[in-house]
Amino acid sequence: MNNSIAVVVAASAVLYGTPLLYAGLGELLAERAGVLNLGVQGMMLVGAAMGFWTVQRFHVGSPGALLAAVGVAALAGAAMALVHAFLVITLRASQIVSGLALTIFAGAAGLSSYLGNDLNLASNPARHQFGAIFPASAQHWPIVGPVLFGQNLLVYASWLCVLAVGLYLSRTRPGLNVRAVGESPAAADAMGINVTGYRYAHVLAGGAFAGVGGACFSLAITPQWVPGDEMIAGGAGWIAIALVIFAFWRPDLVLVGAYLFGAFAALPFTLQARGVTIAPELFQSLPYVMTVLVLVLVSSGVAKRRLGAPAALGLPYVREER
């Protein structure tokens, strides 16, 4: 039963959806504060490289090394986000162009590949990696075994993150303030909220989440580093951005969407492994085509009234201007 295609796809949907979930949550935080960051792809790649470097470099026990790796990946992602934040918040550059610049700067032909080569990351298997944490017996339980108990720690941590971000936005005072900053920075400013500070903080947090999302690939899914990692360079960062639109800027729906897109990403491998003989390119294009289709459905339906989109998304806030 656990070999049935539905269970296998569901289990890998969770696995492949997790990096999307982290990156999507991060993008959601930045966008809720009114800043669009199209550089997710680049932040993920740098996070993946730096996370992998950490496990290779630090000779401590596995849990310590992995924890440090996640921390370093988050810092690396946040550092990338800082460049974007400075350009668009302080220097008021176009958010779209700056995000694209970040993708090119940090992306597959940029910093991540520079770092990977300079730090000699290529062609070595990971010294440590995230594996399943529940006993094998639990993993053999029908359906829930592989899907829920066969996952690594990063998957379970991501659930906590969804809960935390959800509660943060809806139930806390800083959360209320962020939402106000994204909806109406002028109103927030008049009420004494530090618009610039909130925007910086959430863009950086978004970068940290994207960095961890990238590390999911190099520490758990395919524990190695290859220049311009196929999985991430295959558009994970962009799908994460589409995910936020799909989720109407709600953390709980980001979870749903991440696993949906994770399933699209996992399907080609699964079907190929089952010996389905149609041209692999057709399967491989599935995630991209589905992303476009989902986006079209979402945009043309309810979202016509920009349901959920922060009203000030993409706009710089300048107080003293006439």
């Binding site: 993708t103 700067f105 032909a109 940029g110 220049p227 558009g235 390119e281 085509v289 945009s299 043309s300």
Partner: protein
């Protein structure tokens, strides 16, 4: 304290001076990156310049690298100017190669000029069609064109893989002996090879491909379109204020379709030029390793969407790319080209604030205010 004020007028001098200073600043930053990672910036820069523009051979390769970048840069500039963020020049260029090669194969036996014209039409048409998908979705479904055009790049890449590796398509060579060993594209007939002009005054002969000249022609047309036509006028209004455009009775949807189609056609024309001048066949792996489309965005943004500047910047970045390719190794770590492009972009983007705003280092008023005399 630092104060940022909007400038009432934007002096022409600044429009030129600021990007130049920004690029100089970028070179400084990149030198820091090189130093930090144990390279000698002076040495690297020297080699870089020599391999890009140092001799006739270097210039010939630079022009070759610049040709597709000029097209994708113009494609991005044409759309970005109207705030349509077509990130899909990459895929549209692939489609241009497909359309251009198909036209050349169909017209085998035709005289050169006919074959070349056919390739241009085929490439532009295929590129435009591929770009119209995100265009239609944006115009009629209000779907974000950034993400759709980007996703379609991946689909286009897989599609050309399919045409050569996994099918016996019209584009695949099934007859030659080498094709039996490894799948490859069918070469276009000799009549369809694009000519190359030799600039004789340079020692050794600098070769200027027809594609780059076509790109320069497209730049002139694009400038004329934006500056001198009713269509361009409408685009300028829509770009500045969509509400004003609607108020004036302009048909925004049609303009979105037209501009996306135009942008795709230019990228597709670049594909045809790439096939006609350099590749001569559909080479999926080769195309996808170059990131022509993405680099085109850098070109357009650095040129501030001015078509003439696009051609110039394309030659500069073409030189960088060509040098990066020639120097790969200890002198020039891979990935540095992307890092440099990114830093150039960041600096030019950041520098724009100096054009739009005046930055003043002012004293805080109350710091020098004399204490109020007691009443």
């Amino acid at each position: 304290m630092i104060r940022i004020e909007r400038r009432l007028r934007q002096p022409r001098l600044l429009m030129v001076a600021v990007p130049v200073v920004s690029v100089a600043f970028a070179f400084g930053l990149i030198a820091l990156v090189l130093l930090a990672t144990g390279h000698d910036p002076g040495h690297t820069y020297g080699k870089l310049f020599r391999s890009a523009f140092g001799d006739a051979g270097a210039l010939t390769s630079t022009f070759a690298s610049a040709t597709p970048l000029a097209f994708t840069g113009l494609a991005a500039a044409a759309a970005f100017r109207m705030n349509l963020f077509n990130i899909g020049a990459e895929g549209q260029l692939y489609f241009g190669v497909v359309g251009g090669v198909a036209a050349a194969l169909l017209l085998s036996g035709a005289p050169g000029p006919v074959a070349i014209a056919g390739m241009c039409v085929g490439g532009a048409a295929f590129g435009a069609l591929w770009a119209l998908i995100p265009g239609v979705l944006r115009a009629f479904g209000r779907t974000n064109e950034i993400i759709t055009s980007l996703m379609l790049n991946y689909v286009a890449g897989l599609l050309i893989n399919y045409l050569i590796f996994d099918s016996h398509s019209y584009w695949r060579d099934t007859t030659s002996p080498s094709a039996a060993v490894f799948p490859q594209g069918k070469a276009v007939p000799d009549a369809a090879l694009w000519p190359v002009a030799t600039l004789t005054h340079a020692a050794g002969g600098v070769l200027l491909p027809l594609g780059l000249m076509v790109a320069a022609g497209v730049a002139v047309l694009l400038w004329g379109l934006y500056r001198h036509t009713r269509f361009g006028f409408e685009l300028n209004v829509i770009a500045d204020s969509p509400r004003a455009a609607r108020y004036a009775g302009m048909r925004t949807r049609r303009k979105i379709l037209a501009v996306m189609g135009l942008s795709g056609a230019i990228a597709g024309l670049g594909g045809a030029a790439q096939a006609g001048n350099f590749d001569h066949l559909l080479d999926p792996r080769g195309l996808q390793q170059q990131f022509y489309g993405y680099t085109g965005i850098v070109v357009a943004a650095l040129a501030r969407y001015n078509p003439f500047a696009v051609v110039v910047v394309a030659i500069l970045l073409g030189g960088l790319k060509n040098a990066g390719f020639a120097l790969q190794g200890a002198d020039f770590p891979s990935g540095l080209v992307g890092v440099m492009q990114g830093i150039f972009l960041f600096c030019v983007l950041g520098g724009e604030i100096l054009i739009r705003y005046r930055i003043r280092l002012g004293r805080q008023s109350h710091a020098r205010g004399a204490p109020e005399p007691a009443a």
